[in-house]
Amino acid sequence: MPRGATRTNRSKTVHDLTRRAFLGTLSRCGLGACGFCAVAEWDLQRALAAERPESGPRREVEFFETLPGGAVRCGICPRHCVLNDGETGACRSRVNLGGRHYSRGYARPCIIRADPVEKIPLGHFLPGAETMTVAVGGCNLHCLYCQNWQHSQARPDKLKTFDLPPDEAVEAARQKGVKVIAFNYTDPVAFLEYAKDVAVAARKAELRIVAATGAYIEPEPLLDFAQYVDAITIGLKGFTNDFYETVCDAKLDGVLNSITTIANKTDCWLELVNLVVPTYNDDPATIREMVGWIRRNVGCETPLHFSRFVPMYRLTNLPRTPVTTLESACRIARDAGLKHVYTANIAPHDGANTYCHKCGASLIQRLGLKILENHIADGRCPKCRSPIPGVWK
């Protein structure tokens, strides 16, 4: 057979399928595959939902309003999410199921750890005490720099969780020998029902409760929870509404209300923490305004921690906060008359140590979260005997 004939035959076979036909077939195949996948996914989701319709223990939310048509309006945080049947709130942890408002992550913490109380951060509350820290997924703030975003920006039922009803949480803490249960890492506002039940059980067992929160919460639920809490650290993340709206997806007023509520209407030990983010909230004038407000509305004895920002989540292209910025923030706060101002997330730094506000004697020396020296005796300065505000035993 001549060589040319073979080539002609082969090329004819190939050319039977035109480019247009080939592309057409390919796109039809692609569309078919996509359709199949979509149907399969929908079917799988339906099957999973049927098998586990919001499975696991759940507890009804105490603060909500029923609206016509089976909708509910959440009453926990100033967002007041209106949820139709099956919808989830902005905190990802509360859901409308058949016209009732439920907490989704109840008794399903995603984090359990033993930590020092300094990690909350609390500088004037049982220094060096070990806590059992519990966190449930979800958060009603959506901070761009959240360092626990894997947990806080996820639905609680989508995370790997522990099964820990309130009584068992208290029992676990007792077994471990810790005297304090803490709610940290995610905001307890998002799992308030569980946090409250644990706090009630802990109170019965004579354990202490501490919490770290963004405090974007209505006064009523806050007071309801705070009656069982011994110490609370509130993250006052900035002092402009613009900052809160841009970075935290919240409003400043709600947070300021909560701070004054805790300071004036409860017996909780209060500390404040401000994460200084370069270019967002490091303006000295704003810091001056903030510490002035704290002095007027909360008091000059409330400890204030200026915390160093480390690039995280959606703000990874910012640098860390320069140490000098934190130092100047501390200076501004001290000049405004605040007695106990700290730097956090820098170690070793003098700003992390506690000094007597009267005589300047060194009271507590810290290295990061570790206590190196504690000279406070009976809540007083050993040198001048001035009382040091805080909970020391």
């Binding site: 984090i111 359990i112 750890r113 033993a114 300094e118 990690k119 909350i120 951060p121 059992m132 966190a135 360092q147 626990n148 894997q150 947990h151 522990f162 820990l164 068992e168 676990a172 077994q175 471990k176 940290n184 890492y185 770290a212 923490v273 370069p278 270019t279 967002y280 921690h305 915390s307 160093r308 480390v310 690039p311 703000l315 292209n317 910012l318 640098p319 860390r320 320069p322 140490v323 000098t324 956090a344 997330n345 820098i346 170690a347 070793p348 730094h349 003098d350 992390a352 140590n353 020396q365 810290r366 290295l367 990061g368 979260l369 190196l372 020296e373």
Partner: protein, 519 residues
Amino acid sequence: MPRITQSSCHIHRAVLLAWLAAWVLLPAAVPAADPPEALRDRTKSDFDEQAIHALDFMLTLSLTREQARDILPIIEDACRLHLDHHRRLAETQPERIEAYTAFLEEDRLNQGFSPKVERRAAQVHRQGVAIRDERAAALNDLSDRVWEHLTDEQRLAAEEYKPRREAVSDALATRSEKLRAARHRALRGETRPPRHHDGNRALDEARRERAELYRSVHEMPDNIATYLLSPAAAGWLYKRAGEERPDVVRRAVECQKNGTSDYPLEQCKKDDTTARALSREINNWNLVNGMHFSCEQIEELIRLIHKAENLKVALRHSRPPSGMSRRDYNAAMVQLELAAEDALNPGQLEVLKNYHPCLVPPQNLKNPVRVGQAADNTQMTRWLQQARTKPERRVEIMIDQLLEKEEHRFGEFGPDELERRRNLLRDTVRKAADMDDVEFALNKDALAEAIQPTNPLRELVGRIDELSRARLMPGNTAKFLLHKEMAEVLRIRHQQLTGPFASQRSRAGTEAAGASAHE
């Protein structure tokens, strides 16, 4: 050549060395018509010194002509290795300098490292260590081949050989130079013990242990690899064997003397010096960044460094009996060290105590655990978390892998130590497996802490520091803080903390980054 016994070795060595070096071998080994006078120059090249030590070593071994002939193929391989090493240096040194410079720039700002810069610096550092270790391993393999051709006596001599400092000066100095050196030694009271031998058995023991441990972790060329398998020794060996040097040997000798046309020796040395200086500066910045000094502390430390430098100068130029003795110097340095420690707060002292010079700072210096940060599991916690869920057979494999890694990092375990460590790991995994999930979550850090491996090298460094202090000798505080390179770093940090220009620049950089983030 007559056989030289161990006892009479040093006499013969000195006589033969002087004679051979001056009249016969040096001109022959340096065929580029270098006259002996050139070698008497004050700026003796490294190659000349290596050649003299090589000759000294060969005379110690007293190799026979047959042995020299047997060794020649190995020398050729060694020369190939040297050429290859030089080529690798040419490829990697400029990159190393570039990466270190970028890293240093970020280190100076103390605002963390960008992942790319940090990764690159760590990568080139590891590459440098790997090149050094691989070369040492390859040379030691060749050394094993040489070993097979040696007699028992020669093997013993090779193992015990210590390069004599005076070998070079004996061979190269003029008579008047020798006399002057002897007079100088007498004036300085040369009877004092050498620098690292102060009569304290415990301290000497710790230092010896540290050196051995270091050798067990990092491959180091042995004596044969160092003195006999160097291109500088090739000339002597070919002369001894009575054979012509092949091309590869000529090229290796030329490479060791002058480098290659695309990477001259001068450039190679310059790059190496630069890289080392950068690395030292990075170490200093890492420490300063980790310590968060205040302005007052920096001023005090700079003042103390000035005093320490003056002491060093005084020691260098003093003449006993009126001048400063080593003992006076040590006592004064210890005083300065105590003053420096007084200026630090307890947290800083704790950091300094655990500090170990490093290129990329460890997590606790670079990025300490933050308040409210959930994900701070250590490597050991993660390992334990994995192991507790695995069946026993798989756990054994995991333990084996872990032990292998630890031996690679910290040196080999003794048989008892290995068994103890294995049992500890096994028991801890079993304990963790017996716990329920909540109990484990609460206890994992304590369990991981219990099985955290200790770095024996660091422990020894700590022990040496303690022993030195007990002997009223300066310790790690002086070593890390009281030197002039640190003064320079502290001066820059002081400017950054106080100077308007520096803070403005830092602010401008921050704002630029912030603007891009807003976008």
